[in-house]
């Protein structure tokens, strides 16, 4: 039996949940697949999930804490007899799945790009060493694994609809959430964008980001920032690309006045095409760039915006 923990926003399944279902189907030789929806308003979301899976548990446990999520997933795994639990990658998920793996005495494969089975083990491929190494791992069942977002085709609904079953979970003592500070969302989401335009400290001042935003909006891209820029308070943390920020893998990554520290590269070095504009010809970013312009960003950026606008007209 395989259990999929389905990410949702309180109303609908998230894209990651449909990727996780696909991953579970890829190892379907291990048995039937059940799903669990954890959190608030789970009944409604579970009804949607039942279009994909024969059995979906709804565990109504309130707002997110890693302790509650791990306990609910554990209860669902026990009830279904699952030997494998699949979840979406991401900061929250990688916290509670570690707790779950410990409860299940399971091997944990984090942030996998692909997964397969030989009937006794799960074999997973993932990045390590700041995204520089590709690593093949193997763990004997039971296994908990997370699927890196944007790695797997979205699942199609099944031929017939499944059943929804409420799941009682006894809640452990946990953290008390006092305040939730959400990010302001505007434009394209950074982790899902196919084009990302990132500005570095070489831009000189926060006002110069107006140009970065204009180029991004012309190209339908998301805006990214380096750690130095975020530390300087020019841009919000939610835009940071790198080891301690977000990992992106767009078709096109445009780095403007970014020097290209290893920690930054860890967040973007898997992009399909990388463009760098920097006045320092020795900047490390040029070593991993497909196209580079050695020049003053304050002159190149306005010209890029013009050229991009002409192309789009």
């Amino acid at each position: 039996m395989i259990l999929v923990v389905l990410e949702h926003d309180g109303q609908r399944l998230r894209k990651g949940a449909l990727e996780a279902i696909s991953r579970a189907r890829q190892i379907g030789a291990l048995g039937a697949i059940a799903g669990v929806v954890i959190g608030e308003n789970t009944q409604a979301v579970a009804q949607e999930a039942a279009q994909y899976l024969p059995t979906v548990y709804a565990a109504e446990v309130g707002s997110y804490t890693p302790e509650k999520w791990a306990e609910a997933a554990y209860a669902a795994a026990q009830k279904s007899g699952a030997k494998v639990v699949v979840a979406t990658g991401g900061r929250q998920s990688r916290t509670w799945t570690a707790r779950l793996a410990y409860k299940m005495k399971a091997g944990l494969l984090e942030d996998t790009l692909e997964t397969s089975t030989d009937g006794q083990h799960i074999i997973g491929v993932r990045y390590s060493f700041l995204n520089r190494v590709t690593e093949k791992q193997k763990a004997a069942l039971p296994v908990v694994f997370t699927a890196k977002p944007n790695t797997t085709p979205l699942a199609e609904p099944a031929d017939s609809s499944g059943v929804v079953e409420a799941l009682e979970v006894s809640l452990p003592p946990t953290v008390e959430v006092l305040e939730r500070l959400s990010e302001q969302k505007k434009g394209v989401s950074l982790t899902e964008a196919t084009v990302v335009v990132t500005g570095g400290r070489g831009l000189g001042n926060p006002e110069a980001f107006a140009g970065v935003e204009e180029l991004a909006s012309t190209l339908g891209a998301a805006v990214g920032a380096t750690r130095a820029v975020v530390d300087a308070g020019w841009r919000p943390y939610s835009e940071q690309v790198g080891q301690t920020g977000k990992t992106v893998q767009p078709n096109l990554y445009i780095a403007l006045a970014v020097s290209g520290a290893v920690q930054h590269q860890a967040g973007m070095n898997k992009s399909k095409y990388i463009v760098a504009v920097n006045k320092d010809a020795e900047a490390p970013i040029f070593k991993i760039a497909d196209y580079g312009i050695v020049g003053d960003v304050h002159q190149v950026l306005p010209a890029l915006i013009d050229a991009a606008k002409k192309l789009k007209d």
Binding site: P66, E135, Q137, E176, T244, K270, V294, A307
Partner: protein, 248 residues
Amino acid sequence: MKFVAVIRQVPDGESRLKIEGGKVDLGGVTMILDQMDEWAVEEVIRLQEKHGGESVVVALGPERFEEAIRTALAMGIDRAIHLVAEGYLDPISQAEALAEVIRAEAPTLVFTGGQQADWDSQALGPALAEALSWPVVSWTTQIELEGETQAKAKHDLDEGAEVVRVGLPAVFTSQQGLNEPRYPTLPGIMKAKRKELKKVPVSASSKVEILEQTIQEKSRLNKMIDGKDPVAAAHELVRLLHEEAKVI
């Protein structure tokens, strides 16, 4: 009060990795205290400076980890426990071995890095919390003790952040913005040599096996466009992205 930092030693991100026999070979690579663990060490020292008590580092890894442990002691940690184990051990198995020692120490709280720069894993802190049956606060950017049994903390989520109150003992993992780690001073380095470093051999089996590691540096085109004429360069770049790469 007693504050514990769990640390690891990892390759310096700037050093060149090579593969030998299908695995990463760390011979000749500069090894450092993991930078996210450095934030954990600094925070533990600050908590001790503010609230008194004792600071301890605990590390699980091969003999070479001693260097990273000495760095933490030189920064100001009081004493260290080194669980010595050679070979790869996955985070869940590590948590099990670490929990035993940490339970015996009975600390007020435990701090560790949000993600380790060699495994790219985020599991150690939360798995350790589960092994101890304590709550976990991951990607912490602010922490404030409220007496000995409770703390208020701010931490990052997938989108945004939240402020939580958590009963102690608990496990916290670090995130950028938490603090600015101090450098070890020369007197600190001298003092560190005399501080207690207890070694405990550990034998455990890993739940995860690493079959193969490869470095697949994507080959890049490295096409440079002359930037002396910014307008011409910009047009040429847009043309290449549209016609050659076909990404815009």
